[in-house]
């Protein structure tokens, strides 16, 4: 069979499954915005866990981790692993409160909750702006990765942008049809695919390289630095990443919104228990592939390293198997992109259009929500068509940008922080982000996220109490 046809057959079979889930989701759904955006808040523990985890596994988890491990070795596992696992505590700190408030007051989007609790439209709009600015470029990265992978698998027979369009069409179809319920179901499918296919990749590659130990010995001979931290990463950087992931992950709007959807608090609790083990073990797999890749294909440099997984599969696995495994990559891209798409659509519908429409109609919101899914997907595709150089800068800074919202969110949920204090805190954080971008202020060896979040927190505390004591500023 022709290689391109084989690749398309395997990928299309998987994508067709997602469409079937979309059709089934459409059949069982109710025509309401609560159902479309939040699956009527009836997601049980297992589906909740998979949708929280799979949403967190992106193109970067599948391709980027292996590429970084190729360069940095196992040190990258420490940088990514524990901080992400620690996010599970946010399911209690942020998630529980958000779930309770959402159920009591019917909130659908994160900015709606923040604006509603502080009775501030300005703060609500500021949350929308920060969340959209730092999520939209990240949305574009997913079809871009799909385009690169499809193009690589077919030796360029499918051009990069056609691959990106191909993926986007399927995502639009099932998100349009089934909304959150279908996304959550596809997340179960995609989560399982990511776990089992990455595991298969490790087993197949290790077997063909003479076993785990032999493959690692080759990597050790190539670069012993892959197995140690000193000389590769500093304690301050390690600490910074651990803190950054713990803070920014729950501030991703697509994860924040998932705290609205559990059917009970028990579901949230069970997801919280499972999260550290599964993410901790899963993250190790692409890291092992990257390290083994350094021993097997040692000559890669720069961005070439990001292709180490498909290159290893091409060299050490039959085409059908490497395509099957790379469909796990598709699952990782899609599980993030679909959630980002729906959440951003809900924010445009509820936070931007709804307050300014002359009539309060659920049908109108329902229709706008669907239209926005298509529009936002097309915007993501347009960015992917000719990605500006700045997109990678924005994506790099997206994590820090979203972490800026953490102190204010905590303040609103626990201490009824003043809206103006939150606004001052967020604007301070964004200003510092710009100063760091232009390297105007020193970072003292930490990632900028640490001084930025600490300063935002202090500013929030001081301005909240100043407003309380002296009244309106």
């Amino acid at each position: 069979m022709n290689a391109t046809i084989l690749v398309l057959t395997i990928i299309t079979s998987y994508l067709s499954l997602t469409i079937l889930l979309g059709i089934y989701g459409y059949k069982v759904s109710e025509k309401s915005i609560q159902d479309y955006f939040l699956a009527s808040r009836k997601i049980g523990p297992l589906v909740l866990f998979f949708t929280l985890a799979a949403t967190n596994f992106s193109a970067f988890t599948f391709l980027g981790f292996a590429g970084e491990a190729y360069t940095q070795g196992y040190a990258f596992y420490g940088v990514m692993g524990f901080g992400t696992s620690f996010t599970a505590l946010s399911f209690y700190i942020i998630g529980r409160k958000v779930w309770i408030l959402g159920k009591e007051k019917g909130y659908i989007t994160p900015p709606e909750l923040i604006g509603g609790e502080t009775k501030s439209h300005t703060l609500r709009m500021l949350y929308v702006a920060v969340m959209v600015i730092f999520t939209l470029p990240y949305l574009a990265v997913q079809p871009m990765s799909a385009g690169f992978v499809l193009s690589a698998l077919t030796d360029g027979a499918i051009p990069y942008f056609y691959g990106a369009v191909f993926l986007t069409v399927f995502i639009i179809a099932y998100v349009f049809l089934g909304g959150m319920r279908t996304i959550a179901w596809t997340d179960v499918l995609q989560g399982l695919m990511i776990i089992f296919l990455l595991l298969t990749a490790v087993v197949v590659l290790a077997y063909n390289l003479g076993g785990l130990q032999v493959a690692h010995e080759r990597a050790m001979a190539e670069n012993p630095g892959l197995f140690v931290r000193s000389g590769t990463i500093t304690v301050k950087t390690w600490l910074s990443f651990s803190v950054l992931w713990s803070l920014c992950n729950p501030m991703f709007p697509q994860l924040f919104q998932r705290f609205f959807i559990p059917d009970s608090e028990k579901s949230l609790q069970r997801a919280s228990i499972m999260f550290p083990i599964v993410t901790g073990l899963l993250f190790l797999l692409p890291i092992m592939i990257g390290v083994m890749g350094r021993g097997a294909i040692p000559e890669l440099s720069g961005q070439e390293a990001d292709s180490i997984l498909p290159m290893m599969l091409e060299r050490y696995a039959p085409l059908w198997l490497s395509t099957l495994i790379m469909s796990g990559g598709f699952a990782a891209f899609m599980s993030t992109a679909d959630s980002q798409l729906l959440t951003m659509s809900s924010m445009f519908t509820r936070d931007i259009f709804h307050p300014y429409t002359p009539f309060d109609s659920e049908d109108f919101d329902y229709s706008i929500g669907h239209i926005m899914v298509v529009l936002l997907a097309l915007i993501g595709l347009a960015i992917a068509y000719n990605p500006p150089a700045t997109i990678f800068t924005i994506v790099t800074w997206a994590f820090t940008g979203l972490a800026i919202l953490y102190p204010s969110t905590l303040g609103v949920l626990y201490w009824k922080a003043e809206a103006k204090a939150c606004i001052i805190s967020i604007l301070t954080g964004l200003t510092m982000l710009l100063l760091y971008q232009f390297e105007i202020v020193p970072d003292f060896g930490f990632l900028p996220a640490i001084p930025i979040v600490v300063t935002s927190g202090i500013v929030l505390f001081v301005s909240h109490h100043t407003i309380k004591i002296y009244g309106e500023l």
């Binding site: 196992y74 596992y77 420490g78 692993g81 524990f82 696992s85 620690f86 599970a88 505590l89 209690y92 529980r96 785990l212 130990q213 493959a215 690692h216 010995e217 012993p224 197995f227 140690v228 931290r229 000193s230 304690v235 390690w238 600490l239 651990s242 009970s264 608090e265 028990k266 609790q269 919280s272 228990i273 499972m274 999260f275 550290p276 083990i277 993410t279 901790g280 073990l281 190790l284």
Partner: protein, 92 residues
């Protein structure tokens, strides 16, 4: 008739203070004790930033750096602690 009738006033006050912990005295120290849980999770976090272990380069099973294994164990421990946290502190 509720159990409160059979409690001494001091015990009644204590029960109110610690959220009904009297029924299971042995676990009272784990319930309603926010500071304790903050210390426990804070300790786990600090253990993950093992700067005192930075230079170690021992491999286990012939391929895995020992500090990676340590991190995996810490993450399993974190899951177990969240399980206990759910049972004793984070109740519906």
């Amino acid at each position: 008739m509720t159990g409160n009738v059979f409690l001494f006033p001091a015990d009644q006050a204590r029960k109110q203070r610690i959220g009904g912990c009297m029924e299971e005295r042995s676990h009272c120290w784990l319930k309603e004790n926010r500071a304790l849980w903050m210390v426990i999770f804070g300790a786990i976090f600090i253990l993950s930033i093992d700067f005192w272990y930075w230079e170690v380069d021992t491999l286990v099973f012939g391929f895995l750096p020992i500090w990676v294994l340590r991190l995996i164990i810490l993450q399993i421990l974190l899951s177990a602690l969240i399980y206990l946290f759910v049972i004793f502190y984070w109740r519906d």
